[in-house]
């Protein structure tokens, strides 16, 4: 019963839902071998590229010549794409500008895809269905007009959703408090032991001060009368 629902909403088949995509790329941070992997994740999609560099493998490449040089493109093509992917949105100021502008201006038919670490998990071909589901669940705000998707979101944001989020928050808080107590107690115990050695252990002769006969048991340590231990 849910197969059709799953195929339509949770694991949308590539090429049927989206055929035309735009990649906004940071030319300074994206490795050359990462962009071609997009084809494995979103098969059947024809990509355009907004970048500072000329690259092959795209239908069109819009080169950014200056800051905000791609603004007109974002505005003119705001409804033209099915999905928009950001590559390495962190670490590049201009790309952050474009990602925010794209989020403000563009209305892709399906969703935005934030691919901030393009060379790892996100672009493994076998993870394609899971990644598409993640993107469509998280960034598929255009789908809210769809009644079924809206119902799912409404259900998750109801009292049950609140209970789940409150429970997770509670668990995290308890975990942080426990970690804080553990870190404090263990550090305090270590400092207490060090204070004990400071008071009762003679590092020059390697013996406790209240066991003065211990020195005779370790004559080899008396070879060098060092002024202090190695630091």
């Amino acid at each position: 019963m849910f197969e059709g629902f799953r195929a339509r909403f949770l694991q949308p088949p590539a090429g049927e839902w989206y055929r035309k995509g735009l990649v906004i790329e940071s030319a300074r941070t994206t490795a050359d071998h990462t962009l071609p992997r997009l084809g494995a994740i979103f098969p059947g999609v024809t990509w355009d590229l907004l970048s500072r560099r000329e690259r092959s493998g795209f239908r069109q490449v819009f080169q950014i010549k200056r800051p905000l040089g791609g603004l007109r493109l974002l505005w003119a093509a705001r409804r033209s794409y099915d999905l928009v992917a950001f590559f390495h949105a962190r670490g590049d100021r201009d790309l952050r500008i474009y990602s925010w502008l794209a989020l403000l201006l563009m209305r892709p038919r399906r969703f935005f895809a934030f691919i901030e670490r393009g060379d790892g998990l996100w672009l493994a071909a076998e993870d394609g269905p899971r990644i598409r589901k993640y993107f469509s669940d998280r960034y598929g705000w255009r789908r809210r007009v769809d009644l079924a998707a809206w119902a799912i979101r409404w259900f998750a944001s109801g009292p049950r959703g609140w209970a789940v989020s409150m429970g997770r928050g509670l668990v995290r808080t308890i975990r942080s408090i426990g970690l804080l107590v553990y870190a404090t107690v263990s550090l305090a115990w270590a400092v207490l032991l060090l204070a004990f050695f400071r008071l009762f252990y003679d590092t020059r002769h390697y013996r406790f001060r209240f066991f003065t006969k211990q020195a005779a048991l370790h004559p080899e340590r008396e070879l060098g009368t060092r002024e202090s231990p190695a630091s």
């Binding site: 553990y182 870190a183 270590a190 060090l194 400071r198 590092t203």
Partner: protein
């Protein structure tokens, strides 16, 4: 290669058979009796090294300068015995770090006569010698000194787990406990301290007139002048 403050041996000498090591320390270490044929131990003060001028190609001084009463004299001796252009690898603890504080707390000072920060140490090196900093790296404290106390392994594990928990909470007290630095002996010593840098254009000046503010000669930006009472040790001066 000169290994100043070698103790039992800063490096694993047999690994570097193509090098000859001359270890210098004030006290003998039991391990030095088992050193290989390419390493020799000399008992001497760092302020008066018993070597001729310009004989060493490399210098190594790992965590010894905090023990010296007169580190400037030791630095001058190092610059004397090293060849021009020779490299010097130096390690110092950052005295404000928790790692060094714990060490000094446990061993009642532990022989650390000097308190260094990266800036103060480099300033001293530049004032005393012609060594120029080529690179440096902050490193975490390793608690190697816990070997000298009973149940040191237990203590190390305790501290390790504690600091790992602190790190998960966002506090990294062991970061930059020590500094590893690489100097190269240049042909000219001294330095010029620049203590007025325009906040707008970045142009540096040795001195800036004016009382409360000073105006940049390059861009005209009006900067706030820091009172000399605050930067007592940062007064404009030239060491040549």
């Amino acid at each position: 290669m000169l290994d100043l403050g070698c103790g039992p041996g800063t490096l694993d000498y047999p690994t570097y058979r193509h090098l000859r090591f001359f270890g210098v320390d004030q006290y003998p270490d039991a391990a030095s009796a088992h050193w290989p044929a390419n390493a020799w131990l000399t008992l001497a003060d760092a302020e008066r090294l018993p070597f001729a001028d310009q004989v060493f190609d490399l210098g190594l001084a790992g965590f010894v300068f905090e023990h010296f009463a007169t580190p400037g004299a030791a630095l001058r001796e190092l610059s004397r015995v090293l060849k021009p252009g020779a490299l010097l690898h130096l390690s110092i603890p950052r005295s404000n770090s928790l790692h060094d504080r714990l060490y000094r707390f446990t061993f009642k000072g532990g022989g650390h006569l000097q308190r260094y920060s990266l800036e103060s140490f480099v300033e001293m090196v530049y004032a005393e010698t012609a060594f120029k900093l080529e690179g440096y790296a902050p490193s975490q404290g390793g608690f190697t000194w816990l070997r000298d106390v009973p149940s040191g392994e237990y203590l190390y594990g305790l501290l390790f787990r504690s600091f790992r928990a602190w790190a998960q909470l966002g506090w990294h007290p062991l970061e930059a406990s020590d500094y590893r630095m690489l100097f190269r002996l240049g042909d000219r010593g001294g330095y010029q301290r620049v203590d007025h840098v325009c906040a707008h254009c970045g142009t540096a000046f040795l001195d800036a007139p004016g009382q409360g503010t000073w105006q940049c000669h390059g861009c005209g930006f009006v900067n706030i002048k820091v009172p000399s009472s605050v930067t007592r040790h940062l007064s404009p001066e030239t060491h040549v």
